[in-house]
């Protein structure tokens, strides 16, 4: 048994601290490896289908892992209010991934012991539980939230991980999301993504005079707040790699231009001033650079901006529309869409603008490419025969798989682990202006578990944050 810090531990900068003790467990790692091979096999199977039948929308099937998540207990050993909240948040997170099944606590044979006592596994194996999460949570005399947890592998009857810490009670949801991430990581081998946020465009008003505001929320829809008033049209927000800044398109003074918004201070800054319109911003992986499009005289090219000096370098030079650029996670390449070949298709190039190569050759038009944080695939929007699709392809354009379809689906954004995509779907509008509902959805990249993300009003242009620091 080895103790040590887990990778994303203990950085609750604003609200508290959570430190972790991790335990290595070979048998579980092997189990996970097997599960993973199974997932990959499913992925390949659907891939083969996609190739034989181009417009097959992948719908993977995954057997969710049953876990028992007990309400966290107070000092007296009975579930506390904060403990119930934490258990519920963790359960909701894990279930939302589609990879877990949370066993109803009504089925529990006996209440779980405190996290520092080994559980009686005989009470858990009959429920089919693979994992058991128990914990304690209470507010101490100083009003601080004290949390401890332990995750057990019920099958091998061994401890997987445990940890704890204290936090401002306002950080309760984040603490719970972090614990959910630890459970997710132990059982899937992937990095978690629950301690993340979404920035998006909230929409209201009639279709021809839509009011659009930047809005911000946790990935599960909680802690929602608006970042702009709606006086100016705003579009396409994107997080910086530290999630502390948002680049977006702002029509302030009817001059569409890329702006930066500081999430903490709320301060906004116009990024440069150009003869034409600047738009389609995305940060480079180290946060020092940003790529965007500049449109002038009917041509749209891609430029890179050094943020410290706001100096720009032109990367593409063609009379065509070159837009929606996205860096590879190592910053060495850029994928973008261009109509230089006559219709909208995807191209890659080195980040200095050399080595341009068309990668999409399927039927229809391709747009909004976004490089996966894992680096191996690219998500995109495809338009074909009056329908829109969200899909993924390898970085050389092979292995296209379509995951979601609709009258209008657009703007995929990656969860930081590269396992889940979020996008928006818009319903058709009638002549009288009825319909047009626009909502955020997310889907597992194997094409299953499509779920609506609940927002207070209509929503579009989502951007998923990196894991919070």
């Amino acid at each position: 048994m080895m103790t040590g810090k887990l990778s994303i531990t203990g950085k609750l900068s604003r609200t508290g601290e959570l430190s972790m003790i991790g335990f290595d467990n070979q048998s579980l790692k092997r189990l996970m490896a097997r599960l993973f091979i199974c997932l990959i096999a499913l992925g390949l199977a659907s891939n083969a289908n996609a190739q034989s039948q181009r417009l097959y929308v992948t719908e993977g099937q995954i057997e969710p892992i049953p876990v028992a998540i007990a309400d966290f207990t107070g000092l007296d050993g009975v579930p506390s209010d904060v403990g119930r909240q934490i258990a519920q948040i963790i359960s909701d997170d894990l279930v939302s991934s589609g990879l877990f099944l949370s066993i109803d606590s009504a089925a529990f044979i006996a209440p779980p012991a405190s996290p520092d006592v080994q559980p009686t596994f005989a009470n858990w194996t009959p429920l089919g539980a693979k994992g058991l999460l128990i914990g304690s949570a209470f507010l101490d005399n100083d009003g601080a939230l004290q949390v401890e947890f332990a995750l057990w592998d019920v099958v091998s009857q061994r401890s997987l991980t445990e940890g704890g810490g204290s936090a401002d009670p306002a950080g309760l949801r984040r603490i719970a999301h972090q614990i959910a991430d630890f459970v997710y990581e132990e059982f899937t081998g992937d990095t978690g993504y629950f301690d993340t946020q979404i920035v998006y465009v909230s929409e209201s008003g009639p279709q021809n005079r839509r009011i659009k505001r930047l809005a911000f929320m946790d990935q599960d829809g909680h802690n929602h707040k608006f970042l702009t008033t709606g006086n100016d049209l705003v579009l396409t927000p994107r997080f910086s790699p530290t999630a502390s800044e948002i680049a977006y398109l702002n029509y302030f003074n009817d001059e569409p231009n890329v702006y930066l918004l500081d999430v903490i201070t709320g301060r906004t800054e116009r990024l440069g001033s150009f003869p034409g319109m600047s738009f389609a911003p995305r940060f480079g992986p180290d946060g020092t650079k940003l790529i965007m499009s500049l449109a002038e005289d009917g041509r749209t090219d891609i430029f890179e901006m050094e943020l410290a000096t706001q100096t720009i370098t032109q990367l593409t030079r063609s009379p065509s529309i070159d837009t929606s650029p996205s860096y590879s996670p190592d910053g060495q390449y850029i994928v973008f869409n261009s109509d230089r070949g006559g219709s909208q298709q995807l191209y890659t190039m080195r980040s200095d603008g050399s080595g341009v190569r068309r990668i999409s050759f399927g039927e229809g038009r391709y747009a909004t490419p976004v490089w996966s944080p894992r680096g191996d695939i690219i998500a995109f929007t495809k338009m074909y025969r009056g329908e829109f699709f969200i899909g993924v392809m390898n970085v050389d354009g092979s292995g296209e798989r379509l995951l979601a379809r609709g009258f209008l689906v657009e703007a995929p954004t990656w969860a930081p682990n590269g396992r889940v995509l979020m996008y928006f779907k818009q319903q058709p509008v009638s002549d009288t202006g009825e319909g047009g509902d626009t909502h955020l959805y997310r889907i597992d990249i194997t094409g299953f578990n499509e779920r609506r993300v609940v927002t207070p009003a209509d929503a579009s242009d989502p951007a998923w944050s990196p894991l919070l620091q």
Partner: protein, 176 residues
């Protein structure tokens, strides 16, 4: 000929839609008046005889006159090619701008909803630039025209159907 009439009808429907869209508080009376205005513009373009009733705000009068010239040109799907009809509308705009040397315009480029947001922003810019370039070629000083793209953000016609999409693929001139 049949095609031309159809375009004209479409443009009129569009004018009505634009007027409604640009009215800040679209009161019922406001939109009715604007429909009436575009109705007169049909009359003027065919019979060339109109009388403007009372001399109101000169800026408003000029706006009305400009509306009669035709403020909007339409484009094919994913195209920024000016049709013959669009060129004639722009010819009249150029003549108007030459007759009113103090007038400046904002040329808004738009796209239908059947494209992705960022590409449509670029496409709207390309359409506005195509209309601007034509006006400049007809002798209008480029400094008097500002172009702006709205992509698919400001449709003139509401509805997810070919008729609405057609009207939304446009470049729209407004007096500044």
């Amino acid at each position: 000929m049949i095609k031309r009439i159809f375009t004209l009808v479409a443009a009129i429907a569009l004018l009505a839609a634009c007027e409604t869209a640009s009215t800040t508080d679209s009161s019922a009376t406001g939109s009715t008046t604007s429909v009436a205005t575009s109705g007169t513009s049909t009359a003027s373009s065919t019979t060339a005889a109109t009388t403007s009733d009372e001399a109101a705000d000169p800026a408003e009068v000029m706006k009305k006159e400009f509306t009669k010239v035709g403020t909007t040109v339409l484009f094919d799907f994913d195209s920024s090619q000016l049709s013959d009809y669009a060129r004639r509308v722009l010819d009249r705009q150029a003549a108007f701008l030459k007759a009113e040397p103090a007038a400046r315009i904002i040329l808004g480029g738009h796209a239908d909803e059947r494209g992705t947001r960022e590409y449509n922003l670029a496409l709207g810019e390309r359409r506005a630039a195509a209309a601007r370039d034509y006006l400049v070629a007809k002798g209008v000083n480029a400094a008097r025209i500002r172009i702006i793209s709205y992509g698919k953000e400001r449709p003139a016609a509401v509805g997810s159907n070919e008729a609405a999409w057609r009207l939304n693929r446009r470049a729209e001139s407004m007096l500044n």
